[in-house]
Symmetry: C2
Subunit: 305 residues, 2 copies
């Protein structure tokens, strides 16, 4: 079975490699970039797909998202029209987990300054100091795919890993991580990294009380959405100067909020590059096309509605 | 038992913390910084201690080195005079091992540029890409203290770890590292890190043939002395542009040699900061004083002669 006509929206040709387009080509009569009413498959990324869009495509059977998130799609309405929506979960797990350690080690070793010092030909090493990860307490909030990999890597470094998660995860406990209540975990952790699912319950999970409870001189990393954090409380804590906060999703925030955090020297802002590894890009595209192929074979492992 | 008089050479008061000086104070009648002939204990770091120095101190019983290396001391001559020489092995193991990953991740994630981009307020993420450590081959030459920790951390990242060492090390093999001949290891490794003992056999262990055999696009890290590498061959390989080389001991090299390597964009020079962690500093001083205390109790665990 094949699709008659695929409509691509929300991204352009460069978002997928050529070999991926040729795999897709085998699954469709035609691929178009402008809407026509006889489309039976719709590609999308972060663009809105509401009732109106769905109603404008009466033959639609499948919506393939080139993204993990699907809050932009009216999934219930799609379901009522027998349209299946698929996403791409977990493609960047490793990329994001390794990025957490890249960020922590960059800070602990003062690498930006070190690289510049070396480039200038100053090889004295004067003024540099560092901290080790081994033996420290590494707190992880949320033990899903990414949290699990962060835990495994932290254990390799010889850190004491504490985690809190909605459910206990026996597998990571067998490897040495210890379950802890969120409030004790926050007080004990020298390194703190957030990896819970984003939903109403986890919104501002780092509330004022918890932000104030972060161990002095801890390194607090958030490569997850900033909705997890009470920004007013974070700003106050940054002003005190006794934590370092590192994040990489300024792109999803109000610019004024980024500015009021980034003005503190102990706040490091990266562009959103945690998920950009070559391996993640390949895996993402592969899952995207596999979703299509599976649907045409009557299977849909990454269905979200 | 106590020393009568300790002579400090090769470093000044700031090299040791105050509490360490007070521990030393309890072990000696006097501590001096200018030579007198009645000295029975000598502190030294990298300064030369030859026959002449030893003959000038007829009461000398103990030379305590605030360093791991002891090539600067005429250990045989000291032994013939019944003088014990002690060093400080392994104090920076963890600091150096973690530094290897700091360097690799900084490069893989392009963090210097990312930090600057973020500081400028450019949150597009455009132009960034990255590679993951997981699933790659991580080659380690030399499986002593530091090599072992590098292997354990690499295994935590999910790398396939290959190692070559003068002797096979079963403990790390049980954890998943595989022994390999040095030449095959070099050809297969996506990441390559050198940690052999420095001696005549390991001088230029990375000879021209081996440097040419490094896998294209590998990241080659050397936080060990540069005597391990044939610099002419390395320069030629850097010129080809298909490896990245990162090192942190420019301070021990001829300045012209540093310059001819550092001129290549794919060569990254850091100041010698791999061993500077706070934890390493504390451990180093503690071992230094423990050596003294042990000697006075008739024990000398870190004797090198």
């Amino acid at each position: 079975m094949k699709f008659k006509k695929i409509l691509v929206t929300g991204f352009d040709k460069s978002a997928l490699d050529e070999n991926v387009w040729s795999r897709i080509g085998k699954l469709a009569g035609k691929i178009v970039f402008e809407p026509t009413s006889d489309v039976d498959c719709l590609f999308s990324k972060f663009n809105k797909i509401d009732k109106k869009t769905i109603d404008s495509l009466p033959n639609l059977k499948y919506i393939g998202l080139l993204a993990t998130g699907y809050a932009t799609v009216d999934c219930e309405y799609a379901k009522s029209k027998n349209i299946i929506v698929t996403n791409i979960p977990g493609y960047a797990t490793e990329s994001v987990a390794e990025f957490v350690f890249a960020l922590i080690l960059e800070t602990l070793r003062n690498l930006e300054k070190a690289k510049q010092t070396g480039r200038r030909g100053d090889f004295s090493g004067d003024g540099f100091t560092a901290s080790e990860i081994k033996g420290k307490t590494f707190g992880i909030i949320g033990m899903g795919r990414i949290g699990t990999r962060v835990a495994e890597i932290a254990l390799g470094f010889g850190a004491k890993v504490l985690y809190w998660s909605r459910k206990r995860k026996k597998d990571i406990e067998k490897k040495g991580a210890k379950y802890q209540s969120i409030d004790i975990l926050i007080r004990k952790s020298d390194f703190l990294s957030l990896h819970p699912n984003r939903n109403k319950e986890t919104e501002k999970i780092m509330n004022e009380k918890r932000i104030n409870a972060i161990k002095p001189w801890a390194v607090f990393v958030n490569v997850s959405p900033m909705e997890l954090i009470d920004l007013n409380a974070l700003e106050k804590r940054l002003e005190k100067g006794n934590i370092t906060f590192i994040f990489d999703h300024p792109d999803e925030m109000d610019k004024r909020d980024v500015k009021r955090l980034a003005k503190y020297k102990n706040c490091i802002v990266y562009p959103p590059i945690g998920f950009v590894s070559k391996e993640a890009r390949i895996l993402k595209q592969d899952i995207f096309v596999s979703n299509l192929e599976n649907f045409l074979k009557g299977k849909s492992p990454n269905k979200v509605n």
